[in-house]
Amino acid sequence: MTGLIVDRRGVAALEFAIVGGTFFLLLLLVIQFGLYYLQVTALDLAVQKASRQILINQAVTQTQFVTNIQADSFGLLQSQTIHVAVQSAASFGAITPVANIAAGASLPYDTGTYGSAVLIQVGYTGNALANLLSQFVPGVSSTIAFQREPSPQ
């Protein structure tokens, strides 16, 4: 009988450990999801705003673009992990999107000219949820497409 009581206590503790562990995992996931969601939304807004500079034919360098995005992201994104690829052509059909924006290899930066079709892809590699569960959760990224305004004359 004493042995049974001991067993029962042990089982309860084990079950509590499993549930507690899952509970802790859930807690962690919820926090990470919140961060993921905020970062995706912030990136969406920041990229829209930064892209407008190119749309109205202002000169913007790649580093300036990254700085602008980081500045508009409410402190949620760090510059060193923001990757930007800008491509342009006469039409969107002539542009092939960069397959893996997080690859970090030299990304194209061509803002085109007046009236060009422009495709901007921005990826952020600093999110833990997306990095650890990359098979299930898409990366924090934002893609925007627009046409640059025609020339003034």
């Binding site: 079950e15 549930v19 996931l29 995706v40 079709a117 299930f136 959760v137 925007i144 497409a145």
Partner: protein, 165 residues
């Protein structure tokens, strides 16, 4: 023993959160696609079929996910004279959809209440749709979901954006 029932439920919740993150990201992708196409169309005073197809490519690039089916459609809706305002039946041109999903305009438009939009005024409606496979789909989490985004935008250069058709 009771704890044994809770652990799987908690695990299911974990899966649901991961799936929700993916779903949110896909929804944003669909929104970006519709927004991009709408903004491209309203900056023209007239569009050709080739231009529209090119804009749809732009939308597809914004969606940026390989899995799932993706489609975009656009329409120009012109309003009758006051005071009827918005009416789902009044659209002057339905742009060629790609690759074949028709817009469900009636779901998005309804007669305005109070005041009326100026007759002859028009809007561009763009609808992007995607069916996305859910990564961690265990009952009761569904195996795939359809995401839709409808974007309304007002032409910038003229009252109506005309198209061949």
């Amino acid at each position: 023993m009771e704890f044994g029932l809770i652990a799987p439920v908690l695990l299911l919740l974990c899966f649901a959160i991961v799936d929700f993150a993916a779903a949110v990201r896909v929804q944003i992708g669909v929104d970006q696609a519709a927004r991009a196409v709408a903004n491209l169309i309203v900056q023209q005073s007239a569009v050709t079929t080739a231009q529209l197809d090119d804009f749809y490519i732009a939308g597809r690039d914004c969606y940026a996910f390989n899995s799932g089916t993706f489609s975009i459609s656009a329409a120009s809706v012109t309003f009758p004279p006051a005071p009827s305002g918005w009416d789902a039946a009044d659209y002057s041109g339905h742009f060629a959809p790609s690759p074949g999903n028709l817009l469900t305009l009636s779901a998005g438009l309804a007669a305005s209440s109070g005041g009326s939009v100026v007759g002859g005024d028009s809007t561009i409606v763009v609808q992007a749709r995607s069916t996305f496979a859910i990564p961690l789909a265990f009952w009761p989490i569904p195996s795939s979901l359809t995401f839709t985004s409808t974007e309304f935008a007002r032409p910038r250069l003229s009252f109506v954006v005309t198209a061949p058709n």
